[in-house]
């Protein structure tokens, strides 16, 4: 019985193969590699988003504080990282830093920068932290004056206000924009494939290169990214329904 279903599945594949100008069989035979690629993509995207967010919260607070030293420094950082392409940032970290002998001879090289994975994680984290900082900065600035005044009147200290009033309300306002940042970061993570990592696009390019194909690797990668984005938008819809209910 099992043998029969297998052969009819194979027949089905052969049929799809014959009507589409694509090598479906090659995609299916190498699908385990694509699954591995999804793992690398999600790992890099999720980790950089988490670390980037944790870095962005204090930076956004400092940037909104009008602090004479911190605010301009953070403005410079976000300006540089939002003003240059992620690909360039990743190349500078991956190929650029290795040109300095003192970096190459230090422990940082051996344990971190010699690995493509770490280079990608650093570049992605710095990039998303810059965008998230500006996004939260905007949300903090939009805090209704009345909320802050009420907090002061009820005796909240500066950090007490930030922690209990300003940040929770800013986070809520930032959810829709942040869901875009998450999707942009996922799409940006394809840069990993240019520095030898086997993420989803990296596996697609491997398949194209190995069998001299034109589209198969890219189409499979596109469908996988599409599926991941579908999942992300679903999650954010749930989050919005929960935390932005008072607006609906």
């Amino acid at each position: 019985m099992a043998e029969k279903t297998l052969s009819s599945f194979e027949k089905f594949i052969k049929y799809i193969d014959s009507i589409l100008p694509l090598e479906i069989e090659l995609i299916i035979n190498n699908f385990d590699r694509f699954i591995y690629g999804v793992g690398i993509t999600l790992e890099l995207t999720i980790l950089s988003l988490i670390i980037g967010f944790l870095l962005a919260v204090p930076m956004a607070v400092a940037r909104s504080s009008q602090h004479a030293i911190l605010s301009p420094i953070i403005w410079c950082y976000t300006y540089v990282f939002r003003g240059t392409p992620l690909l360039v940032q990743t190349y500078l970290i991956y190929y650029g830093l290795g040109q300095f002998q003192f970096i190459k001879n230090s422990w940082v090289w051996d344990s971190i920068l010699s690995s493509a994975w770490w280079c990608a994680l650093i570049a992605f984290t710095l990039n998303t932290a810059a965008y998230t900082t500006e996004l939260l900065h905007g949300a903090i600035n939009d805090t209704p004056k009345g909320e802050v005044e009420a907090a002061i009147a009820s005796g909240h200290s500066y950090f007490g206000r930030i922690r209990r009033i300003i940040l929770p309300s800013a986070f809520r306002r930032a959810i829709p924009a942040y869901s875009n940042e998450v999707i942009f970061m996922l799409h940006g993570s394809v840069v990993a494939s240019t520095i030898t990592l086997q993420d989803v696009l990296g596996v697609g390019r491997w398949l194209n290169g190995r069998y001299y194909l034109a589209y198969e690797g890219f189409i499979t990668a596109a469908l996988l990214y599409f599926a991941i984005v579908f999942g992300i938008t679903r999650i954010f819809r749930m989050v919005e329904r929960k935390y932005l209910k008072y607006l609906q």
Partner: protein, 257 residues
């Protein structure tokens, strides 16, 4: 609506006319430009190299005007199939796998592949010696095919260009690389950076992956162009133009047997 239709038809007519004229007049040739000494880009943007000069010698032989189109290696075959150019002269080996999609002229050179690693490295170019080691190859090349077949236990690291492979070998991110021996010698081992590296093991030949030499790729339907190019290769072999180009780059005749 009528006017709109007329404009569209007129536009289409002009389009078809220009494409046919273009296809007849100039031969568009795809080259890579990141594969020294076969093709590279000078600081001023001009393309140089053995492939580039062979291309112009063949065009002179065919008495046709040629236009060089730069194309990254990854997209070389798709671009040929999408009619971005009519022939590829970019050190592309004639293999069975590629012949499923495109056609080739007769070979215009044939050189062996070799493994390169640091002088001090114990890598000997065998499957056993490379087991567990990080081996760099350019993606979509015959070397990717060969490395997966011959060194199944090595960890393959894929790059878009051969230049990036050498760069990461220098930075120590990969333990060894496999590529065309002439390319490795000329653009890496002979440079100051490459002094600490050398060939490991002997020549690698493999009919399935490396095929029968390097040819000019054309679309399958362009059999006429294919045959003319094959004849032109033999012609420049005979009239000495090939030898002239060969000798400006190499000390041995790379045509092979």
């Amino acid at each position: 609506m009528n006017l709109f239709l007329k404009t569209v038809t007129a536009g289409l007519l002009v389009l078809t006319m220009t494409t046919t004229v273009q296809a007849e007049d100039t031969l568009r040739i795809g080259v890579e430009g990141a594969y020294k000494p076969f093709s590279w880009k000078e600081a001023d943007g001009t393309l140089k190299g053995f492939d580039v000069e062979i291309a112009s010698a063949l065009c002179a032989e065919l008495k046709r005007k040629c236009e060089l189109v730069e194309q990254g290696w990854d997209g070389m075959i798709p671009a040929l199939l999408a009619n971005k150019f009519d022939a590829i002269i970019a050190s592309m080996s004639i293999t069975e796998e590629r012949k499923k999609r495109i056609d080739f002229s007769a070979k215009y050179y044939q050189t062996p592949a070799r493994v390169v690693a640091a002088n001090s490295s114990a890598i000997d170019g065998t499957a056993k010696g490379l087991a567990g080691k990080r081996l760099g190859v350019q993606r979509g090349t015959t070397h990717q095919c060969y490395a997966e077949k011959a060194f199944p236990d090595a960890e393959l690291v894929l790059y878009a260009t051969q230049e990036e492979v050498f760069q990461d070998l220098l930075l120590g991110r990969i333990n060894a690389q496999i590529s065309d021996s002439l390319v490795a010698n000329d653009s890496f081992l002979k440079t100051d950076d490459g002094a600490k590296y050398s060939f490991k093991g002997s020549d690698h030949l493999d009919l399935e992956c490396y095929g029968e030499g390097v040819g000019i790729a054309v679309r399958k339907e362009d059999t006429d162009l294919r045959d003319k190019l094959s004849a032109a290769i033999l012609a420049i072999r005979e009239n000495g133009n090939y030898a002239k180009i060969n000798n400006t780059y190499f000390t041995v005749d790379i045509y092979g047997k």
